[in-house]
Structure formats: C-alpha cells, structure tokens
C-alpha cells in the first residue's frame, strides 16, 4: 500500500522467527555518492529477485541513529542475513554484534567494520581507488606537459573514513612528487558532508588564494569534480586544468567526454553487488561458501574471508567500457550535445 518497489513484501505474514530466508541490506547514504541508490540497490535487487529470496534494502541517509534503527527493525522483521555498509566501525560493530547475538548472519559490504564479526567482507580496495586517482592525475598532468604543476586537493568529508582511505591512496602517489619538487602542493581541504555546493565555494577560494595558479585538481569524486569544473568554466579554465573523480557517474563521464574531466574511477559495482548477493543468498540458504581471499582486520587481527574487486581508471579512451558493462546506458550518457562526443569515443 505504501508504494513498495521491492515487490518482496510477503515477509510480513511469515515473521515467525526467521524460518523464511530474508536478507536485509543497509546502505549508508545517498549524499556522498550516487552509487548506493542508483547502482548497488539496483544490482542487489536484481540478484535477489533472480534467486527468489526475500529482501529489504534500506538507506540510512548518513545517520548513525537511523542506521541502527534500521538494523533493529530488519532483525525484528525476521531477516536472517544482514548486509551492511557501515557508516563507521563503531555503529557497524554494534549492529553486527547485536545481529550475531540473535543468530543473524552478517556481511560487510564495501566497508570493513574494524573489530567486527562479519562472516564475509566484499569490497573494492579504497586505497587502490585513491591510487588510481593519483596516477590518473599524474598521467593527465604529464600529457598537459605541465611544469612544476600546483596540485589542489579536494577531499571528501572528513567524517567519512573512506575519504581518509582515498586520500591515503592518492597521497601515496602525489606526496613523493611533492617531496621531489616535481609537483607543488597547493591548497588541500576537506569538503563537509561531501557537499557539492560547498565544494564549489571552497575551490573558488582556492583559486582566488592561488591567484589562479592551480594546474591540477585531485577531486575525490565526480560530484566534487563537477563543482570544480563549474568554477573552472566560469574562469574559462575548463579542459586546461585536469580534474579527477570517482564513481563513473553520468555527469562525470559526460565531463570526461567534454574534455573537462581527466579521469574517473569505475568500480564495477555490479560485480561487487553480485559477489555479495551470492554470498548472502548462500548464507540465507544455510550454505557457507568459501572465498579465495582474506583481509586481516587490523583491530582484532581476525582474517576475514573476503571478495576484493579491482577498480578501473576511466578516461576518454575507455568510457565505452562502462557503457558496455551496462553501468550507464547510452541514452543517459549521450544526450544532446554529448551525442557527437559519444560517437567520437566509440560508443554506439
């Protein structure tokens, strides 16, 4: 009655203590990145539906309290498997422990809960993502033949641990260059809440402060990248200053096609979602599948059975791969003025 879009709502009649398999998924937010709502939800739903299990996917909207409430409610609702993308390790651990004590199996999706007790961990390597961004920026700066380029960094939300991991990744590439004097370290700021509007203001002030002397921007995701590009466009610098991104959003890919953005990182979310869904469905049916990899939890020292996927750097040359992967459709991407660029990039 309430506009259920999951079509899997038969669980309400059979909530007798987890006899029916039911999988609960908690996504973190929809502000930091498009992916959770546009990609993860879609792929997980597809996988679950195909397997014929019941599921319930919810989004905590960045709120820890909501996150825990959702977990409570899913367990109450009879979920037997809980898959979470934690907002932070503390809440994550609280949720995992509580679930475990009730006999509910758990999976860490995308983010590892330090000191947690999840059965599996499925993710991309976030530091690797950062590394790809750093390498991408270096490549673009080299291509632009920049001498002693000033690099500005626009990090994600300081309250988001992943943003720190990304930063670790790209700083591991850039810092040696700064130290070697090849690059000049420019302003380096965090964007509260990953807020694109604030990112715009922040970058405008960076540009003002540097009197326009910024030659490359390491933006932590496509949204921030687009905010940077907006400011660059205003100063007619777009395309001349390479900007990075992440998530391979339609907007980011369009900016790449237009030549305003140098690269983005494509995380084949479908693979990640499928891998996680596969494990979850297994758990729901009472099978414990084995994985090839493990990740060592730095806090507890436990070896967590893991599936780790590799991110891909996307530039103008391989935008078509993303489309081919079905991550974005041609219709979404090649609207209006981008049609020509699409053809040029070999997207058909």
């Amino acid at each position: 009655a309430c506009g259920d879009d999951s079509g899997s709502d038969t669980g309400s009649g059979t909530d007798g203590g987890g006899k029916t398999a039911k999988i609960g998924v908690i996504l973190p937010d929809s502000a930091s990145s498009d992916r959770w709502e546009t990609a993860d939800r879609k792929y997980l739903e597809e996988a679950f539906t195909a397997a014929g299990v019941q599921y319930d996917i919810q989004n905590a909207q960045g709120d820890k309290n909501t996150f825990q409430t959702l977990a409570d409610q899913m367990i109450t609702n009879g979920a037997t498997v809980l898959m979470i993308v934690n907002l932070d390790s503390g809440t994550g651990k609280a949720v995992l422990d509580k679930a475990k004590s009730q006999g509910v199996a758990t999976i860490d999706y995308d983010r590892l809960t330090l000191g947690g007790s999840a059965e599996y961990y499925v993710s991309f390597d976030n530091e690797a993502v950062g590394k790809l961004q750093g390498e991408g920026l270096v490549k673009c700066l080299t291509a632009a033949n920049a001498q002693k380029p000033v690099v500005a960094e626009l990090n994600g939300s300081q309250t988001d641990n992943n943003a720190t991991l990304f930063k670790n990744g790209y700083d591991s590439i850039l810092q040696p260059k700064y130290d070697a004097g090849e690059y000049v370290k420019g302003p380096d700021q965090w964007v509260p809440d990953w807020d694109n509007n604030q990112a715009g203001t922040l970058f405008e002030q960076m540009l003002t402060q540097q009197k326009g002397k910024i030659d490359g921007v390491l933006a932590a995701n496509d949204g921030l990248g687009n905010a940077v590009i907006s400011v660059l466009k205003k100063n007619n610098l777009n395309g001349k200053v390479p900007v990075t991104g992440q998530d391979a959003t339609v907007q980011g890919l369009q900016n790449i096609l237009a030549g305003d953005q140098c690269m983005t990182v494509y995380k084949a979310i479908k693979q990640e979602a499928d891998a996680a869904a596969d494990l979850a469905i297994g758990l729901a049916k009472g099978e414990r599948k084995s994985t090839s990899q493990t990740v060592k939890d730095p806090e507890s020292g436990r070896d967590v059975p893991s599936v780790l996927l590799t991110p891909v750097a996307i530039t103008k040359e391989n935008v078509k791969d993303v489309v081919a992967d079905g991550f974005v459709t041609k219709e979404e991407l090649c609207t209006g003025s981008f049609a020509a660029a699409c053809t040029q990039a070999g997207i058909s």
């Binding site: 309400s12 203590g17 919810q58 409430t69 409610q73 109450t76 503390g90 651990k93 000191g115």
Partner: protein
C-alpha cells in the same frame, strides 16, 4: 505583617466538588479546548494502530523494547530543550553539544583508559561548562540565542572533529557505558520499580489531598485521585510486563528480557525535572520569565540567572543524551549528535505541546513527543520503502500526528482559550 490580615472573610472556596461535577467540568474543559496531553496520546495511539496493522511485527515485545532504546537519546535531549524553550529561547547546538560530550567521554574512557565514572563525570561537566558559556553569551552579552547557538552548532561540529582526530571513530569498550542502551534490568527489579514509582506517586497525591482538605481548600474528589493513581499503575505494570517477556529471536542462543536500563534513567530524569518545574520556586520562576520577562524582573526574579541556568540544564541533558548515543552505537564519531538529532529533539518538545514562544510546556511533553518521533522512525523502518519515499512518508506522518493535535486544539482558540 500581612496588612490585610484584619479583614479575613471566609476563604474564597468553591463548593466541594463531587465526582459528578468533576466529570462534568472535565468534559466541559475538553469541549472548551483544554486538552492537555490528550492529543499527543491520541496521535500516539493512532500511529501505533496504523503501524501495527501495516506490520503486525510492530507489536512484538522485541520491537516494543527497541522503541525505548531508539528514542532514548532524542527524548533526553528534548527534555533539556523544554527548559530552553520555556524561556522562548532556542538551543541549536544541543545536538552537537551531545557530540562534544560523547567525544570527551570517548577520549577519557577509550583513549586515556580512565574508569567509566570518571568519563561520565567528565562528559557531564563538559555539558555544564558548555551551558554556562552559552547562557552567559545569551543573558549577559545579549546575543540572541539563535545566533549564539548557531555559532556553537558550527564550533562544536569542529570541536568533535578536533577531539576525534581527523574524523576516525573511537570505539567504546567499557561494559558499563555500553550497558545503558544494550542491557536490561532483571525482571524482578522491574517490578520493584513499578511498586516504588506507583507507591511514591500515590503517597504524594494522597498527602496533598489530605493537606488541602485539612485547610479547607478545594480538592479533587478522592475517587478521581484514586482513578489517576490506578491508571498510572496499569500503564507501568503493562509496560513492565511486556518488557519482561522473552524477546530474543533465538532464546536458546541468547535470552533477552527485562526493562532496558535506559528506561529507568529516563523515568528518573522525567520525575526529577517535573518536580523541579512544578514544585519548586525555581521552576515557577522559569515559567514566569518565559511568560513575561519584564513582569518577572519586576517581581524581583534574577532573570539573568534563570536564563543562564536553563542553558546549563539543556547542555547537561545533552551530555546525558551524548552518553546514551555513545552507548547505543558503542562508539563516538564526528557525526555523533549530528544530522537529525537536534531537529528531532526540538520537534519532540514542540509536538508534545511546548510553545516556541516560551511560558508553556512540560517535561512530559518532551517524552510524549519523543515517543511520537520514535514510533514514526521505528514503524517506518519496518516498511520496505526507498529513502525518498521514507522521507516523504515520515514528513507526512509527522504532519498528520501534529494535525490531530492542532485540529483538536483549534476549538480552544474558537472558545477564547489559548
């Protein structure tokens, strides 16, 4: 010397009311629009029925217990907020103040490894200091509370970030602190509490009736008082009975029953603050300053002191809220006390019937309003909705609950009451 002692006439008393006249008056008052807590309770019942019908699991013992632990922090912060709102002020920083206090707690207990009571004391002290500073800026420097607390809202956000270095999060391992939101009191103790609270209430009520009657003052008829006591006993006993049911999904694995520890904490806070507001001169002065600051000043009340004190109370309660938040998520991070905590806390107080313009409100309002919000949040979590739908739906339900209240109070305005 009371000047007028000379011409004592028989005290101006109304004829002794009977149960019948009392009931008649009550109905007339209701029809005249003096509804008290009725609409909030009504809204609560409607919401529960709605969610219960949509999702029968809503009425399970487990979910009932969840309701308390989920709503505790907001209700506690809202209780403190009532004091600030009673003066017609606002504290936008209460959310992040709870974050700061939680961060202090985490620093002391997790990073520096002091025992839990030191950490709790430190957190509470931080709350008091915050309140003193805010109150001073509002009352003595004269900056509007909205601006002071907006500035504090920003500053505290930063303080948490600085305290919890660089935005990681600090796990809290201390079992005592974790217990607040995650453990229950033994069922027997729950029953003992019922007896204590109900007994205390009955004693106070009956004593007051006795004292008034012996002075020849108007009192409520005894049956009415007894009925009220009976009602309280029924509610308390019902709740404790329900919470004492086994609610583990897998009882063999882990038995889960009893009143969550946070419930008696809230009950004590509710009783203490209600007592302060209704039975002490200080509480009376808060209402006076909120109703007419100039009149209060002319009556010799130290208005500045009252204004500072409510900010202290609010921040102190925020500190308790912060401890509860930390206990609930077993960790503290830069977002603790952020996002919706503040708006929900103010909303809880206002939905319960506290006025934003001062002079009107009760601590119970905060708890009732907090319950409304907790039920909405809880029920919504049981529905399979997308985030967008959920936001829209939460908003609509909130509006509906407030609408019940507003429409029933509208009669009041029509008949000349406030």
């Amino acid at each position: 010397m009371t000047i007028t002692a000379q011409h004592i006439e028989p005290a101006a008393v109304t004829p002794k009311p009977t149960v019948a006249s009392h009931a008649r008056d009550y109905v007339a008052r209701i029809r005249g629009g003096e509804l008290g807590a009725l609409p909030a309770v009504l809204g609560l019942v409607v919401l529960c029925v709605f969610f219960g019908v949509m999702r029968p699991v809503f009425f399970s013992a487990g979910n009932f217990a969840n309701l308390f632990t989920q709503g505790a922090a907001v209700a506690v912060i809202a209780m403190g907020m009532v004091f600030v709102l009673l003066l017609g002020e606002i504290d936008l920083s209460a959310g992040f103040a709870s974050g700061v206090c939680a961060a202090v707690l985490a620093q002391v207990v997790a990073v520096h490894g002091y025992p839990w009571y030191v950490a709790v004391l430190a957190a509470l002290a931080t709350g008091v200091v915050i309140g003193l500073v805010l109150g001073f800026l509002v009352a003595k420097v004269g900056i509007p509370s909205f601006v002071v607390t907006l500035a504090a809202f920003l500053a505290f956000q930063g303080t948490v970030l600085l305290l919890i270095k660089g935005g990681t999060n600090v796990s809290i391992g201390d079992e005592v602190i974790i217990a607040i939101e995650n453990r229950n009191i033994p069922p027997a103790l729950g029953w003992l509490l019922v007896v204590l609270i109900a007994g205390g209430y009955a004693a106070i009520q009956l004593l007051s009736v006795h004292r008034r009657t012996s002075r020849g003052l108007v009192t409520e008829p005894l049956p009415v008082v007894l009925a009220r006591i009976g009602g309280l006993v029924a509610i308390l006993a019902g709740a404790v009975y329900f919470l004492n049911l086994e609610r583990s999904i897998n009882p063999a694995l882990n038995s889960l029953k009893g009143v969550p520890i946070v419930v008696p904490i809230i009950a004590v806070l509710l009783i203490v603050w209600t007592f302060v507001l209704r039975r002490t001169a200080y509480g009376r002065h808060i209402y006076a300053v909120g109703g007419n600051r100039e009149a209060a000043r002319r009556a010799g009340i130290n208005v500045d002191k009252i204004r500072i004190s409510v900010f202290v109370i609010c921040s102190f309660m925020a500190a308790i809220g912060g401890i509860i938040l930390a206990s609930k998520s077993r960790s503290v991070d830069p977002n603790t006390g952020g996002s919706n905590v503040l708006l929900y806390a103010v909303g809880a107080a206002v939905i319960g019937g506290t006025s934003l313009f001062g002079g009107k409100g009760r601590v119970l309002d905060a708890v009732l309003g907090g319950a409304v919000i907790a039920v909405i949040d809880n029920g919504m979590g049981l529905m399979n909705l997308s985030s967008g739908q959920k936001f829209v739906f939460t908003g609509s339900v909130l509006l509906l609950a407030a609408g019940v209240d507003a429409l029933s109070r509208k009669r009041a305005a029509a008949t000349g009451h406030r």
